[in-house]
């Protein structure tokens, strides 16, 4: 045995039985090799017990990895320094969200026994947000929507007990899972013809979805996680003339939608459904209209529930087909006064989120690859950090409070 080989031979001793099968000339008994015992103390690779940094500062970025969608993943960053601090692999076109207590990450995805062929298994999974350990798997009907990461594809009830998963086969339905018990309580088919699961503000166990005739359907769940009652509103908007984006902002028990044309639709909610619709108003000034500004993006609207400041991604020169264009500006509106109170350059972002976990509230944005963090304690957002290459094709991000900011 040559000298160099001897230096690393002690490591083979770690292999126990399997090493004996391997390199006949490599089976050195570590016990008899003084060098081996000397090296042993350093010879341990630890696994970090938890994700580094203060949990309140984490920024979660869902990367679809569109060109390798079977390797979609949740990337985790420390918002105070932009460092990548961990990730969860989440198979084909997965979703993720935070538990209400911020202590868990919930994911949902589809597995194939012979990727991309074979038997499909859909799951909801529970992970410890600090240790990133897998805690529980809940097998759900193999019907989950394989959709881009709109916030409403995978969300939860306000009480934090039930996860809500959008299905499409293409028949649409919603899977409800009890996250304490780890079981599916019901697949709600009453939502056929409707799309996107929005947590109904102010109600412990209720969600609202947008139907193909422009109405909102609200489903109230019982404590058993099964449909207790449903209520369908009259049409809120004209699907043909003024379609709304499916992403909703929430404030004061209201659901706030913006249309392709920049009109704000407001539904005043209780647990049973829509109490009333407020008058429609436009976020566009005359100058905006002249320059053809319009909202655009994926998760493109959010409000700070504390002050009713509304954030909307906007682009000029809007035409048919520009509704997913990157943002040229992020506009801030005061929902109380219905006036624009701030704006920052859009940085070509496609999605945003409000984060309430940090000491001062934050606006998070992403252009597919690069994430930006703004302090929004005043009307004018203040850019505090950019995280470059936060994902390859990422259209959703959120803070520890997740995307459900209602109570």
């Amino acid at each position: 045995m040559n000298e160099r080989f001897q230096r690393w031979a002690p490591r083979a001793g770690l292999l126990a039985a399997s090493a004996a099968l391997m390199f006949c000339f490599g089976t050195v008994n570590a016990q008899n090799n003084p060098a081996a015992s000397d090296m042993r103390p350093a010879d341990v690779v630890d696994v970090e017990a938890r994700v580094p940094g203060d949990p309140v500062n984490r920024v979660y970025v869902y990367d679809t990895v569109f060109a390798h969608l079977t390797d979609s993943r949740l990337n985790i960053f420390d918002g105070t320094n932009g460092e990548f601090v961990g990730m969860l692999s989440n198979s084909f076109n997965g979703f993720a969200q935070m538990s209400k207590d911020q202590k868990q990450i919930w994911t949902s995805t589809s597995f194939y026994s012979r990727v991309p062929r074979g038997t499909r298994t859909d799951t909801i999974d529970i992970w410890d947000a600090n240790t990133l350990k897998h805690l529980k798997e809940i097998i759900v009907p193999p019907k989950r929507a394989n959709a881009l990461n709109y916030d409403g594809m995978f969300t939860r009830t306000n009480d934090g007990q039930f996860a809500l998963l959008q299905n499409a086969t293409p028949a649409t339905s919603v899977t409800v899972a009890d996250m304490q018990k780890g079981v599916v309580t019901q697949e709600i088919t009453a939502t056929a013809g409707c799309w996107n699961v929005i947590t109904t503000p102010g109600a412990p166990r209720s969600f609202t979805t947008i139907c193909g005739d422009g109405s909102l359907l609200t489903v109230k769940l019982g404590a058993d996680g099964k449909l207790a009652s449903q209520s369908r509103s009259k049409p809120m908007f004209s699907v043909k003339d003024d379609p709304v984006f499916i992403n909703a902002a929430t404030w004061n028990n209201k659901l706030i939608f913006v249309s392709f044309h920049g009109n704000i639709y407001t539904a005043d909610m209780d647990a049973n459904g829509v109490k009333s619709f407020e008058p429609v108003w436009s976020i566009l000034s005359e100058k905006d209209k002249a320059a053809k500004w319009a909202p655009g993006g994926f998760n493109l609207i959010a409000a700070n529930p504390a002050n009713g400041y509304l954030y909307v991604l906007m682009h000029p020169d809007a035409v048919e087909g520009s509704h997913k264009n990157p943002a040229k500006e992020i506009r801030v509106y005061d929902l109380k006064t219905k006036k624009e109170i701030g704006s920052v350059p859009g940085e070509d972002v496609l999605s945003l989120a409000v984060n309430l976990a940090t000491p001062t509230p934050q606006l998070l944005t992403i252009d597919g690859a690069n994430a930006h963090i703004y302090d929004i304690s005043s009307a004018q957002p203040k850019l505090v950090r950019t995280i470059k290459n936060a994902g390859e094709a990422a259209l959703q991000l959120f803070g520890p409070t997740g995307v459900v900011l209602t109570k």
Partner: protein
């Protein structure tokens, strides 16, 4: 500014957009060529600079190549063009499976000055082809108009929902 219904005008501008986007991508390619890097694809990369397009005149060349994203029948194609993946304008690559369902757009054929219904079928059962990504959104609508929506995987009703590429099938005139 109710431009949703002004389809003709929208499409005309859309073409002008696309031409300039094409120029942009060509220059990006030049940088990446010859390196050991390949250009990854973002679902929205083609629109990422659309607003810089402005009012440049349409170059006929861009719209005449059916494998170009700017070709009229791809007006709502959001995915990898199957004709770059071993398929054709009307067919899926060998070994994949065509989706029986699809999203549907209405595209303007500038040569005939006529609108056509185009069905965007996904090809399924292989992982992403990764070539010739187009991110067009003309006449696309949110998921509550499900069959006009392209942010879902139209392989959803196939044996395998794993997405490979997309075919733009001309169904017929938009009568």
């Amino acid at each position: 500014m109710n431009w949703v219904d002004r389809l003709g005008e929208g499409l005309a501008r859309g073409v002008a957009h696309n031409v300039s986007r094409r120029g942009l991508l060509a220059s990006v390619s030049k940088i990446l060529v010859g390196s050991a890097f390949i250009m990854p694809v973002l679902p929205i990369s083609r629109v990422a600079h659309a607003q810089e397009g402005g009012g440049a005149a349409a170059e006929p060349a861009a719209g005449d190549d059916p494998t170009n994203c700017d070709y009229w029948r791809h007006c709502a194609l959001d995915g990898f063009q199957c004709s770059c993946c071993g398929g054709t304008l009307n067919s899926c690559p060998a070994g994949s499976e065509a989706s029986p369902i699809s999203w549907v757009g209405t595209c303007h054929n500038p040569h005939e000055n006529k609108n056509y219904v185009v069905a965007y079928h996904d090809c399924c059962g292989k992982t992403a082809c990764g070539r010739c990504y187009c991110g067009n959104q003309v006449d696309e609508r949110p998921g509550y108009e499900f069959f006009r929506h392209n942010d879902v995987d139209w392989c959803m009703a196939n044996r395998s929902a794993v997405y490979h590429c997309t075919v733009s099938l001309i169904v017929g005139p938009a009568t």
